[in-house]
């Protein structure tokens, strides 16, 4: 047979090369894609991400890099619908949350074109974002005035709604903020505690069912490059996209969270499940944030409340099947 024409696509990540998103999710998907296309599509990882993290969407759209991923909340004006799986009390695992969100996205959200301009391959979320503090926290009263660092978005809104004095700083400053005492606590998924080496400066992890927040990601490709791929390669890539990516990334986040939990236990951080009273209070206080999302989804022409209910159903299904 005649040698098939090969295409090399560039890929890049705004987190470190060792981070599981780069090493497991991006690289893992690239390997699958190479196999699925019989080596006709190859990938090369850029040594340095071509933009600041929030500029990733435009970087892929403009072709500075062919494939990348980004948190939807970095472009809050463009990506309102992906806030749904970020709301408090979503999935208990990244896998369940990612699968449920992926199903809702492709069924209801995708046609509204929030990812217009790029070829969206998949969506996913990280695990439940929890509260980590330098002081013991037993009830909502202990949270009042606590200086909590968040990355903004839903997390900042929740922290503020709980009565914490919430502020936004870059994630890599977290260690310095906590060790020096500028911050009393942070909101993070378990994974980030080890990746930012925070386990030595924390005293307590307070776990809420479904977490306080999450982050929704999109993984996408430059549209021109996609359109130039031969039909058979497009089909091969479609097969390993969508929910497949949600599973790949969800599993990877959960694995990273498990390691985070181990590290926390090893370093003697107290792990506390919030009691029912505390959980109820958090739920009550975060209702306006959920209402707000419903309003915004309605403004986009969707039935926000109904979709949210459907999402919660999908969450249950995804959690049951595994």
């Amino acid at each position: 047979p005649a040698p098939a024409q090969t295409t090399t696509l560039t890929m890049s990540s705004w987190v470190s090369p060792q981070h599981h998103i780069t090493a497991v999710v991006l690289q893992g998907w690239a390997n699958e894609a190479e196999k699925a296309t019989n080596g006709r599509v190859k990938f090369s990882m850029l040594p340095k991400h071509p933009s600041a993290p929030p500029g990733t969407f435009d970087a892929v759209r403009d072709g500075l890099v062919d494939l990348s991923f980004v948190t939807a909340s970095y472009t809050p004006a463009r990506h309102i619908l992906p806030l749904m799986p970020e709301l408090p009390g979503s999935g208990d695992t990244a896998l369940a949350n990612s699968i449920a969100y992926s199903r809702i996205h492709w069924k209801h959200f995708h046609k509204l074109g929030e990812y217009k301009g790029v070829k969206l391959l998949g969506v996913f979320t990280h695990g439940p974002g929890q509260m980590f503090t330098k002081k013991p926290v037993r009830s909502i009263a202990d949270v009042q005035g606590l200086k909590i660092r968040t990355g903004g978005g839903v997390a900042e809104q929740v922290a503020k709604a709980l009565g914490a004095s919430a502020f936004v700083k870059p994630a890599p400053e977290s260690y310095e903020l906590l060790s020096s005492g500028v911050a009393d606590g942070v909101f993070f998924p378990l994974e980030s505690i080890i990746s930012f080496k925070l386990e030595t400066v924390l005293e307590q992890a307070t776990l809420f069912p479904g977490g306080m927040y999450s982050s929704a990601f999109g993984f996408f490709m430059n549209e021109d490059k996609w359109n130039k791929l031969p039909r058979q390669d497009q089909e091969a890539l479609e097969k390993i996209s969508g929910e497949h990516i949600a599973r790949l990334a969800g599993n990877s986040w959960d694995e990273a969270d498990r390691k985070g939990m181990e590290a926390l236990k090893k370093s003697g951080v107290k792990i506390v499940n919030a009691n029912s009273e505390f959980v109820a209070e958090v739920k009550k206080r975060s209702t306006p944030i959920i209402e707000d999302w419903i309003q915004k989804a309605n403004a986009k022409g969707l039935d926000g409340a109904k979709i949210l209910a459907e999402f919660r159903d999908e969450l249950k299904k995804a959690a049951a099947v595994k």
Binding site: K48, P50, G63, S179
Partner: protein, 432 residues
């Protein structure tokens, strides 16, 4: 690799034609990027747009203008003059004494200011005129101001350490502590360079007047304001009042309070200090934006991969790898702007170094040291440009020849820091 080197050569050519360094880097970066992408101008333009749009929107970089402002306030409050006078009272009577006083005053100033450029700019105004008055040669006077200025980022607080710490998630507090001993070693070696220059040509650095012990203690007593400001900034950072990034604004505020209290600030001088800082900031960021556009071009050449391959080929021993990395940095640092060099190469080298089991704190100090060398290694070095801007009668050639002994002193220190990690790691070992 070859494209990257051609790009550097063309950029140097444009610079020599007197096109501003910032625009030269941006132009070559843009055209080079288009070339690498098969003359796809859409993508090249998008890269330029991205860098213009994003570089300013970077919270960490907000420390740069604030440290520059702090330097301006400190000088207007008379504190840099006091530092210089105190250092002069002790060693001014030695051969090259004023030059060595400039170095120790720069080191002291480095303790309250996080920017090398601000330090060099300050002593261009404070020490350079004195040295001229005492008949110092242009070469020595310019070289020592540029060289002493580099201490501003080794002695904490430090802009480069903040940026390195945030990019590599290394503890900034420990980095700050780690810089103190290498900073003092650096000051001693720079004094050695002064001695070498005045030994070769005694007329270039005549002796000053000897001060009495009474004068010396009076001069030393004046330095208390600097000490207070140092304790305020460092105490605030270590005490958890504010972060290292916020430390720049707090330090500038503290310096402003001192300037007000000493009645050194009127509306006119306040405006002058702010305006000058704003202009210096804009000048620096234009170079940074140009350098980052250039770095994007280098990023898609094979240069980063080639450098990594080159480094890892030294698998005879980890120390050789580090030595190779240092050599690359010193060479790159001659022609690249330092911050963009760091931003481009840290993702390539940091994982290699950590993987080999080296301490990230120690590597941070090595990085600061190579940046210091880059700041005074011709042809592209910010400290030299600052001097050139502030003292128009100095020619680039004079500055270039004047900084060389100081550059070699810094290279020697780099070797010491690589050979003896304890120099960097001793002080932070006392921190939890």
């Amino acid at each position: 690799m070859i494209e990257g080197l051609v790009g550097l050569a063309v950029m140097m050519l444009l610079c020599c034609l007197r096109i501003p360094i910032s625009f030269s880097m941006a132009l070559v970066g843009m055209v080079g990027y288009a070339y690498m992408r098969d003359w796809n101008w859409t993508v090249a333009f998008a890269t330029v747009q991205t860098k213009l749009y994003e570089t300013g929107r970077n919270y960490t970089l907000s420390v740069v203008p604030l440290f520059i402002l702090m330097g301006n306030f400190v000088t207007r409050a008379g504190m840099s003059q006091e530092l210089f006078r105190a250092a002069y009272a002790f060693i001014g009577h030695l051969r090259g004494g004023l030059a060595m006083a400039t170095i120790w005053a720069s080191a002291g100033f480095g303790g309250i200011c996080g920017s090398s450029i601000a330090t060099a700019a300050t002593f261009a105004k404070v020490a350079y005129p004195s040295m001229k008055k005492f008949g110092y040669s242009d070469r020595l006077a310019a070289g020592v101001v540029a060289g002493g200025g580099t201490l501003g980022i080794m002695i904490p607080p430090s802009t480069i350490m903040v940026i390195y710490g945030i990019f590599t998630e290394t503890n900034i507090g420990k980095l700050f502590a780690a810089g103190i001993v290498p900073g003092i070693v650096g000051a001693i070696l720079l004094c050695g360079a002064v001695q070498y220059m005045t030994w070769r040509d005694p007329a270039s650095g005549p002796r000053g007047e000897r001060s009495t012990w009474g004068e010396r203690f009076r001069a030393l007593k004046d330095v208390w304001a600097v000490a207070v400001l140092f304790l305020f900034v460092m105490g605030g950072i270590y005490g958890g009042l504010f972060t290292a990034t916020e430390g720049a604004a707090m330090g500038a505020f503290g310096a402003m309070v001192f300037a007000l209290w000493r009645r050194a600030l009127t509306w006119t001088t306040l405006y002058a200090a702010l305006l000058e800082s704003a202009r210096t900031t804009a000048m620096l960021f234009m170079i940074l934006i140009g350098a980052l556009i250039f770095a994007e071009f280098v990023n898609i050449t094979t240069m980063p991969a080639d450098l990594k391959a080159f480094v890892t080929r030294f698998n005879v021993g980890p120390t050789m790898v580090v030595a190779a990395i240092c050599a690359i940095y010193v060479v790159l640092g001659t022609a690249m702007e330092e911050l963009s060099m760091i931003l481009l190469t840290i993702p390539v080298f940091f994982p290699v170094v950590v993987h080999l089991g080296f301490d990230p704190i120690w590597f941070g100090i090595i990085i600061v040291c190579v940046v210091e060398i880059g700041l005074i290694s011709p042809p592209v070095g910010m400290n030299m440009f600052v001097l050139r801007t502030l003292i128009p009668e100095l020619s680039t050639a004079t500055i270039f020849s004047g900084v060389l002994p100081f550059m070699w002193a810094d290279v020697l220190r780099l070797a010491l820091l690589v050979a003896f990690p304890i120099l960097s790691l001793w002080l932070p070992s006392f921190m939890k």
